[in-house]
């Protein structure tokens, strides 16, 4: 066991912290209020290499480990989860999926510009009637010989508008059920793709979420990832890693709320003393600290397993479920500690509470994580 971070990991953590405080915190309330996509902030994040930080340098990425990614995601998410989710989708889903399962030509053409941060990716799995049940894909990719013809609708797609490269999960052979599903690399500007309006969300309001409609969209055969019918396995394997990103995001939301609540408790006075000196508040902060420490350890354990090339699907499901659930609890307590100030926007904790809710829902609800975890108990 070694709980020490390397010099590089600490430097990445500090870089992410500095970036979040300097570039993300200013204007965050207005961006959230107006649901303004943080285009300038994402551009700077990309220039620093955060969007392709785990991709192998031979494909123009940063070549960093998953531990570094967890540390960076936590720091970014303490302030702006709408930015953190772009980072998570790019690193965990799109880049990792392409690097692990794409062929060399696909990596050269699609992965390199993504890893350099010149382009942004999106992962299109959810549908109006296929969220947690990802086997029920209604979007079709009809085999037309040298190309696929894609038709259908994808829902809740993060980066739908800002992305250039889509990874689309679609059904080619319905009779084979989930073994008939394919994963396709699709140019967002291909004819036949239209976007629904920007979703007016409860939290992470400035992230770029739309539904995406496909009408007779031609996708060349060489854009299929893996063999025919590999799409469902591709999606599930990719989501295993995606959970680490969202778990770290939830951890960051909780830690950000905790840090603000701790600071406030040492400044705000009631009954003649700082409210931290009241046991009712101190014990709340103690409980929050324990939950955050547990959450951080689960994130780092699953990241470590991934870096050691050991199975990490169950560990990442545990991390995702626990971190998301405690993020909800911790942010709610942070609002409570702030009292009336917590309920107004200037103190940030109400926003973090709204952001926390989404981490229990997307990239596998907490309930779906429990299915994954409980099934593993019988093996």
């Amino acid at each position: 066991m070694n709980f020490e971070f390397t010099e590089e990991q600490l430097m990445i953590q500090k870089a992410a912290k500095d970036f979040a405080e300097r570039e993300l915190l200013p204007g965050i309330i207005e961006r959230d209020d107006n649901a303004t996509f943080p285009a300038e902030q994402i551009k700077k994040l990309a220039e620093l290499g955060f969007l392709g930080m785990m991709t192998d340098p031979k494909y123009d990425g940063g070549g960093m480990d998953t531990i570094s990614y967890v540390l960076a995601m936590e720091e970014i998410s303490k302030h702006d989860s709408a930015v953190a989710v772009v980072m998570s989708v790019c690193n965990s889903l799109v880049n990792w999926g392409l690097e692990t399962y794409g062929n060399e030509a696909q990596k050269e053409k699609f992965l390199k510009p993504l890893a350099r941060g010149e382009k942004i990716g999106a992962f299109l799995l959810s549908e109006p009637e296929a969220g947690s049940d990802a086997t029920s894909q209604r979007t079709t990719a009809e085999d037309k010989g040298d190309h696929y013809l894609v038709n259908g609708t994808k829902n809740w797609i993060t980066n739908a508008n800002c992305a250039s490269t889509y990874l689309v999960i679609a059904q080619t052979n319905p009779e084979k059920k989930h073994k008939g599903i394919n994963a396709l690399i699709v140019d967002k500007n291909a004819p036949g793709i239209t976007l629904g309006p920007h979703e007016n969300k409860m939290g992470m309001r400035s992230s770029d979420t739309h539904s995406v409609m496909f009408t007779d969209v031609k996708v060349p055969k060489e854009n299929r990832i893996g063999d025919d019918g590999f799409g469902f396995t591709f999606a599930m394997k990719t989501l295993d890693g995606g959970r680490i990103g969202i778990a770290s995001q939830a951890l960051g939301i909780a830690a950000g709320a905790f840090e603000r609540a701790l600071k406030y408790s040492r400044e705000r006075k009631a009954f003649g003393t700082e409210i931290f000196n009241h046991q009712a508040i101190a014990f709340k902060l103690s409980d929050m600290a324990v939950k955050i420490e547990n959450a951080r350890n689960l994130c780092l354990k699953s990241a470590w397993l991934k870096d050691q090339h050991q199975p990490y699907g169950i560990a990442s499901a545990m991390a995702k479920q626990y971190c998301a659930d405690i993020a909800m609890e911790v942010t709610s307590e942070a609002v409570q500690i702030h009292g009336g100030y917590g309920y107004v926007k200037e103190y940030h904790v109400e926003r973090l509470m709204r952001e926390a809710k989404l981490t229990q829902i997307y990239e596998g609800t907490s309930e779906v994580q429990k299915i994954v975890i409980s099934r593993s108990l019988l093996k």
């Binding site: 010099e7 430097m11 500095d18 070549g63």
Partner: protein
């Protein structure tokens, strides 16, 4: 041109200051170490000039007097963009010792521009830049808030009472830089961080030097008095407290 930036390894500016050994030594337990902010801004300006005029600036080197635990700070400078690091393997005892060690190494090299932050945020000595230029017998410009190179000539602006002074100087020279030299320090990129270990970090053994000072003791500032709030209507109470308690009127 070759630029050298002298960097100090100091405690993070948010560190809670404590002392040990009967208040004669700073307690480094749990301290995070950073590049002295003035030195980091000097490095930032050097990098800005190199980015804008890559053909003019041949290299940027950072130098530090410190023990091995200062290396992460030097590598941070390399991650930000410096080309080479030099560590003089000695505990930085005082300003004279640090200046002497720096001068002994710099004499053997041929740097054109030597940058020092105006002071370090830990001991606030405000000495090294001036001492160093004297030991090297080089011209120095203090309180520099702007450094530029135009058509191969160095232009500096320095802060003076009520305004600014524009100075041009021959190279080599020492510039002691302060607020305004660069807007804000750079955040290292992922590639910069991963590439830092592959950049040269030369370790030089120190020269024999006298140490003229020792720390007799440190004292923390007295705790601030608590703030008393007085009703704006109650002027009598305000006068009473200012007279009898604060004793300022």
């Amino acid at each position: 041109m070759k630029i050298l930036v002298c960097i100090s390894n100091i405690p993070d500016t948010t560190t809670k200051i404590k002392f040990v050994n009967n208040n004669t030594a700073f307690d480094i337990t749990g301290v995070q170490w950073i590049i002295n902010p003035w030195d980091e801004l000097a490095l930032t300006r050097a990098l800005d000039i190199k980015d804008a005029q890559p053909n003019t600036i041949e290299s940027i080197t950072v130098i530090n007097v410190g023990l091995v635990d200062a290396e992460p700070t030097i590598r941070k400078a390399l991650a930000i963009g410096a080309d080479k690091g030099i560590r003089i393997n000695a505990d930085p005892k005082d300003s004279y010792f640090v200046s002497y060690q720096l001068a002994e190494v710099i004499k053997k090299e041929n740097f054109d521009i030597i940058l020092c932050g105006i002071e370090s945020f830990d001991y606030n000595g405000n000495n090294v830049g001036g001492m160093l230029s004297e030991m090297l017998n080089l011209p120095s410009v203090s309180s520099v808030s702007l450094l530029d190179i135009k058509d191969g000539k160095v232009e500096l602006k320095r802060e003076i009472d009520g305004g600014q002074e524009t100075v041009s100087t021959q190279v080599p020279f020492v510039a002691i830089v302060q607020k305004g030299i660069a807007k804000e320090p750079r955040i290292p990129s992922m590639r910069g961080i991963m590439g830092a270990r592959t950049k040269p970090l030369q370790v030089v053994e120190p020269a024999a030097a006298d140490i003229f000072t020792e720390f007799a003791g440190f004292d923390l500032p007295k705790a601030k008095a608590t703030c008393k709030k007085i009703d704006p209507e109650n002027v009598k109470e305000l006068i009473n407290l200012l007279h009898n308690e604060a004793k300022v009127i």
